[in-house]
Amino acid sequence: MQFLSSLLFAIIFFSASFFFANNCKKIYRNINLGGSLDRFGNKKERFLKMSRLAFGQSKMLDKPIVGLLHLIVYVAFILINIELLEIVLDGFTGKHRVLAPFLGAFYNFLIGFFEVLALLVIISVLIFWIRRNILKIKRFVSKDLTGWPKNDADYILFIELLLMMLFLNMNATDSILQNASYSDLYQSYGYFPVSQFLIPIYDGFSLETIYIIERTSWWMHILGILFFLNYLYYSKHLHILLAFPNTYFSNLDKKGKSNNLKSVYHEIKLMIDPSYKIPNDELQNDTKFGASDIFDLNWFQLLSAYTCTECGRCSNDCPATQTGKLLSPRKIMMKTRDRIEDVSRNVDKNKIFVSDGKTLLNDYISKEEIWACTTCNACVESCPIGIDPLSIILDMRRYMVMEESTASNEIHTMMSNIENNGAPWPFNKFDRINWRN
């Protein structure tokens, strides 16, 4: 019996880990569908930025109350996972609370501490749920979040709530069994400051029933965690892992600085001087200017699409979104991810990407959205995890202007004025200093 349960545990644990590893590989493969970008230097500065934004959650604390609640859930999530280590060991060995004898009094402290954390998580998650579903905070009821994204957010809160309740229930029933010396396994280990209040629920239950409830909670808890791990791939909750690389590789330059396209530079140099030599490592066969699909974006932009938490801070601060335009920077990130996932399924099926007649621009993100941006950087500023939706918008404009010439007449007029008169308006360039007279 004991052997069977350990075997079952091992099978489930390894399959879950296998699926998880597989999903990680897929994410890595998909991110590399994007083009190159050098974000590997300045290691120290990058590390500090990651520490500040991802570990320290500094931007989250711009909104102190939600920031604090989020910090609680996050810290609790990490710390409670220490307990997971023991649960896994118990699962394999068929023992119970295998670490307790080694840790002694410290073990009691840890279990007590985890219980308090679990309670705090339950409270935070309930507040989060109320904010989304009862108070209907503006950024959560946006039209960006219909269908899956809305459900995703609620499912996660539900899973977190359930996991914490199972954890507490497991401890409560465990302590009853311990007090009754139910079997050798239930030695007096742990300190249960929160779950002891659940004990009265089980008044009048037979020890056998309580044993079954304890085992069920234990199994459901670990199954829930393994499920959650594999759910991440489909969820905005991927940010709990990817926020770290995303902040690490995020832009360290001034926000106002947009990249100068090297390919354009070489082309202009060649125009001026036909003997100009393009450096070997920058030679490209088919240069495409700007981006019409995910393959033209860089790997960091794709990583960011996977990392986006769909929190809507960016769109909340976007002047275009605020004035009812179609553009919403959050949607830019979500649609980019949708496209990556569609391409990913395509690659899974066909081994390589087989054109499906669609592109990120037009089929997922409309031109109207792209042209509504004022390049104000409000979205970049407000993102708590270093995402830059503006860079994707600009790359798409580049494609529309330099590859397709599909900008509006007004934009074309502005550009030809600059070309001919050195100013965006139709004035004579020799009148440029007439203001002096």
């Binding site: 001034k254 926000k255 106002g256 600085k257 947009s258 100068n260 396209l261 354009v264 530079y265 082309e267 202009i268 200017f289 700007g290 601060d317 002047p319 275009a320 605020q322 004035t323 009812g324 335009k325 179609l326 553009l327 109207e368 042209w371 509504a372 941006c373 004022t374 390049t375 104000c376 950087n377 409000a378 970049v380 500023e381 407000s382 600009l394 404009r397 580049r398 202007v401 330099m402 900008a407 509006s408 007004e410 934009i411 502005m414 550009m415 600059i418 070309e419 050195g422 100013a423 965006p424 308006w425 004035f427 360039k429 020799f430 009148d431 440029r432 200093i433 203001w435 002096r436 007279n437």
Partner: protein
Amino acid sequence: MNVKTFKEYKELGISPDILFWVGCAGSYDDRAKKITKSLINLFNKSGISFGVLGVEESCSGDPAKRAGNEFLFQMQALSNIEVLNSYQVKKIVTACPHCFNTIKNEYPELGGIYEVVHHSQLIDQLINDGKLKIKDDQFNGKKITFHDPCYLGRANGEYYAPRKVIKALRADLKEMKSCKEKAMCCGAGGAQMFKDSEKGNKEINIKRTEEAIETKSNIIAAACPFCNTMLTDGIKSHENHKEVQVKDISELIDKVTD
């Protein structure tokens, strides 16, 4: 106007310390030309050595770049850099945050390496150094609100120089409900100035002007010619607030110094 071009100075064998990059708006737009003149007044009052490029100046390329025309941008940048380097320009000041941002951040990779400052930074410094002395108290206690230009604030992290300038007027600085890092855009950036806006339920400049009006200020201080236009238009469309003035910080300082 007491101002010479670098070319004229060169003929006199003089090379000025600072280049005043006037920008397209400052050169051609009637409202922005007034800002150009105020700034030149301030330079003359403080006795610094400066010149302009005049007809040798051309669009910095910012609107082209933000519209996605990297070709046109780099063409503009490279030819401007050629002119600037031919005069061995070391330091540039400009009243346009868009030119400021592009020349400061995007020109260096293309061969244009200069110390670039925004006029709010230079004015702040001139006041600190005692080169500009505030002699008049007409703004004493007056309510003034400041609109952060995106390309000075978020884009380059400069929130304080213009505020210090306003405080030097001894004015009562009233912040809008969104300001500094969180300041709302006026709606002109990213080449929006040159096109109609997309369909929505409000114009961005109207919304921003409402935030400014909520502060009950007499003056909206701007530090960008495009913001200035957008906010002026915004005020015009608010029937009851026509008395609110939109002024560049250089114009305010010009009024109280001599």
